[in-house]
Amino acid sequence: MTERHVYMDHSATTAVDGAVLEAMLPYFSDRYGNPNSLHLWGREARKGVNAARDQVASLLGAESSEIIFTGGGSEADNLAIKGFTFTHREKGRHVITTAVEHHAVLDSFKWLKKEGFEITILPVDETGMVRISDLEGAMREDTILVSMMFANNEVGTIQPVAGAAKICRDRGVAFHVDGVQAVGHIPVDVRELGIDMLTMSAHKMYGPKGVGVLYVRNGVKLEPIVHGGGQEHGLRSGTENTAGIVGFGAAAELAARRLADGSIKEEVRLRDLLIDSVTTSIEDVFLTGHRTKRLPFHASISVGSLEGESMLLRLDAAGIGASSGSACTSGSLEPSYVLLAMGLSHEAAHGSLRLTLGKDTSEEDIVYVAENLKRVVTGLRALSPLWKNRG
């Protein structure tokens, strides 16, 4: 067994921060009331939920009444897309998204298609970025919703959200943004950007799993997908996940601090150190996604002549946690649709590797990862018929 453990998969999920867990703890067995109860226990719980709503709203520049807590990012995406189109289906039946969205968005669009909507899926360029002109061209009289992610989970590319928002606003089309990878890591101000709905997920920003947020601009009407007791302004029924919500609030506050105190700059420095060292020290490796318009913590590469899963497992044996868009890691036969949409060959997509840094990643970690990756790649290439063929 290895001595060192370096988690480099923060795009998949993050550890709950110590202060966040601390904030959550009282809500399990002490302040355990149902926030809808009138008594002391209920009032304590309600106070916690209210404060968390304020914290999340403040991170986004939103009003507290615009924050809807859900059971995760996927649910928030589904609520935005299905909830909006269900309510406005008489106004038009055309909706637009992009080829590189998360499955929670893409599969909601597929569902809309089954329900009789026409869907347009915008292509991306070789960096994974949507062209604003493509969005403009796709707009129709009967378009009612555009959904575009803020930043991509696989390649870290940041989309031109402000430009897309303006186009939607000018045409009176609702604009939903999947901000799961971006919020808390780069500044996101919903008012400034002119976003109508924004998805967040606590576990991507040092909060707990199983709690998400949909920001819904005041005035935007939605049908819930979970009906019932009428919690969350009737948009998400069910007894509130108080501990999770309080954790989300604490994570939002932590994120706001990190965005203000220069931590992000250091994260970018380490990210670039990693990108530079692996692309220069290892032969036939290239960066995927945009070089600069990318998440501060996100490095993604393609390694020639190798398949992703084999790299992951050898890195794992060295105590390093990473991920890949290879088919072999997903149980499907096709490698990542995101990488293919960017024009990568199947082989290059199979060789993809994602290394995503966290707030506690150190320079030694980066050095350790770069060294081990080089060793792993060399070892596996010695086995690869593709590599030798070229040599």
Binding site: S305, L306, E307, E309, S310, L313, R314, A317, S326, A327, C328, G331, L333, P335, H346, E347, H350, A382, L383, S384, P385, L386, W387, K388
Partner: protein
């Protein structure tokens, strides 16, 4: 997810690497699907005297090729041809359902290499004749 045996052969594969002047070579799979296996054979008296592999693919592909090469070593050609992917899976201590195709590739790789050997033999015999 993987058995100990799979992980062992994946981390420290036996019979890995290119063979110089093999008597037979088989290559199966394609990079599109993320799996290529290349099997090299040295044959003596219709027996597999030596065998090696090169594999592009996941851990189970690498372990399957390593295992199959180990299994056929020393067998007669006919015995080697009788090795099925199920034998490979069993010897590996099982494979996850979505990885069974790797063991199939291993079976096919051996068959392709033997086929290559035989066609070369036929060519030699014909040349002699």
């Amino acid at each position: 997810m993987y058995s100990e045996k799979v992980m062992e052969l994946f981390m420290n594969p036996i019979n890995a690497g290119k063979m110089e002047n093999p008597d037979g070579v088989g290559e199966v799979g394609n990079p599109r699907c993320g799996d290529i296996m290349k099997i090299y054979l040295r044959i003596k008296d219709e027996r597999i005297d030596d065998v090696s592999f090169e594999t592009f693919g996941c851990a189970s592909a690498i372990a399957s090729s390593s295992m199959v090469t180990e299994m056929v070593k020393g067998l007669t050609i006919d015995e080697a041809l009788a090795i099925s992917n199920k034998d490979v899976v069993k010897a590996l201590g099982g494979l996850p359902p979505q990885k069974i195709h790797c063991s199939l590739l291993a079976e096919e790789g051996i068959q392709a290499a033997i086929e290559d050997y035989r066609s070369k033999q036929r060519a030699k015999t014909e040349a002699k004749a």
